[in-house]
């Protein structure tokens, strides 16, 4: 009888731990987006630390704040820190994509006004002038220090939300949490498991924001999506969206409407989703391979393409597996 009681006690203790609901928080804002967190084996203190880390990162990398990126844009130098690291990664990705990923297109983005209430098509002359002010080749790295030349300015927002997820997950790992999921806008970071199960991350449908185009089953990774449907406007039936081709200054026009990238690095997942959108599915494959990343592409006709590495994790009505 004593043995049975012991077994019961052990089971009860184990299940008491397993039955605990996660700590949940979804009312915070940072990086210009809603931040949601769910934690298993940790609670409010960890979530608050993660949010503080995200806000600190925002201060450092947002050109609108007063940290490293803003200082660089005002003529200063950077020798380390998060902004430095992201710019270094961005320069490498700019080379890898033959300029399709470029963090210096801020003057062009501002012309289009996608972050304003009245986005519009810029004039040819002002667009040409803005293109002259862009170009990652104007970022100089000498003696371990970054500085800008030719009036260029950097905008790290294409990496920010993914990098923010990375900061949160670092905090989760240090806290001893057994699992956690953080979303910052369209980027998601997953750590560990939820009571032993992997996380299920929905890829929002570009055609119905309340529906999922696919569901990914994931652990210990990051997911980011770039889609032309996020910020766009129509003129005479033609669509103009915020994902700009750095070589022309106009929105990228290809067969894609959305690209979702899964990668072990949060910032890179975000950066690669933008880069792959610009490159198109076929040209993205070598790039994804270099960074050990995988992707799900949604085309304008609604069809879905998935890299073979990601295919085992995908739930979707129908999709084609890329070689």
């Amino acid at each position: 009888m004593k043995k049975a009681a012991l077994v019961f006690l052990l089971l009860a203790l184990t299940l008491a731990a397993a039955c605990r609901r996660p700590y949940e928080n979804n009312v915070d804002f940072a990086m210009g987006a809603e931040v949601t967190q769910k934690l298993w084996g940790a609670g409010e203190e960890t979530a608050e630390k993660a949010l503080a880390a995200i806000r600190s990162l925002e201060e450092e990398i947002s050109y609108r704040k007063e940290g490293g990126a803003a200082s660089l844009n005002r003529g200063g130098e950077l020798t380390g820190g998060d902004a430095f690291d992201i710019i270094q990664k961005s320069i490498e990705l700019w080379r890898d994509t033959d300029g399709a990923y470029d963090i210096t297109v801020l003057p062009i983005v501002e012309l289009w006004g996608f972050d304003t209430d009245e986005p519009h098509i810029p004039g040819e002359a002002e667009l040409s002038a803005a293109l002259e002010k862009a170009g990652t080749e104007k970022i100089i790295c000498e003696n371990g220090a970054l500085r800008l030349t030719g009036g260029v300015r950097v905008d790290l927002s294409a990496a920010g939300k993914g990098a923010a997820c990375g900061k949160a997950v670092e905090i989760y790992m240090a806290s001893g949490a057994t699992g956690g999921i953080v979303t910052v806008g369209g980027s998601v970071g997953v750590f560990g498991t939820k009571n032993g199960s992997p996380f299920r991350v929905a890829v929002r449908s570009p055609f119905d924001p309340s529906a999922a185009a696919a569901v990914l089953t994931l652990t210990d990774t990051y997911v980011s999506t770039s889609g032309s449907y996020e910020k766009h406007f129509f003129v005479s039936g033609a669509e103009y969206h915020h994902l700009l081709d750095p070589s022309t200054g106009y929105p990228v026009m290809n067969e894609l409407i959305s690209v979702t990238v899964v990668c072990a690095d949060g910032a890179l997942s975000d950066m690669l989703s933008s880069a792959c959108f610009c490159l198109g599915a076929e040209k993205s494959l070598p790039l994804l391979k270099k960074y050990s990343a995988s992707a799900l592409f949604i085309k304008r006709d609604g069809s879905v393409l998935v890299t073979k590495e990601l295919a085992p994790c995908v739930e979707c009505d129908s999709y084609e597996v890329l070689p």
């Binding site: 019961f8 009860a12 039955c19 997953v190 890829v203 449908s205």
Partner: protein, 125 residues
């Protein structure tokens, strides 16, 4: 001498395992949630999407439409807390918490509906 197939202790363990299984089912159910999402739209364009199963405590936010309305979100659901519209019909819808429920403030052009395409932990895109 007649021998019993089960001792009292064996039965106790069997009940403990049954209890464990029930607890595990409960845990999975709680972790998975109900998959309820509130979609707030202005003139058919989605302006905000909220995972209602992740809401830990009530909070309010405003939505800019033709009029500015205040929405309240709670673990139970979402409701029009205040609208400057003349008829206040939207406020009378009460709290929406079940999949398929819809409430509209016509003068503001704002609607909210509860959807639930499946159970997932996060959304990208």
């Amino acid at each position: 001498m007649k021998t019993r197939m089960f001792k009292k202790a064996d039965l106790f363990i069997a009940f403990a395992v049954l209890f464990a299984a029930l607890c595990a089912l409960l845990a999975i159910s709680l972790a998975g949630g109900n998959g309820r999402t509130a979609v707030i739209e202005y003139r058919g364009e989605t302006v905000k999407v909220i995972d209602l199963d992740s809401v830990a405590a009530p909070y309010t936010f405003t939505v800019e439409g033709d009029l500015e309305v205040v929405m309240e979100v709670s673990p139970q659901g979402i409701r029009f807390a205040y609208s400057p519209c003349p008829d206040k019909l939207c406020e009378r819808f009460g709290t929406l918490g079940k999949k398929g429920q819809v409430a509209v403030c016509m003068p503001a052009g704002i609607s909210v509906r509860i959807t639930g395409e499946g159970e997932y932990d996060g959304v990208t895109g």
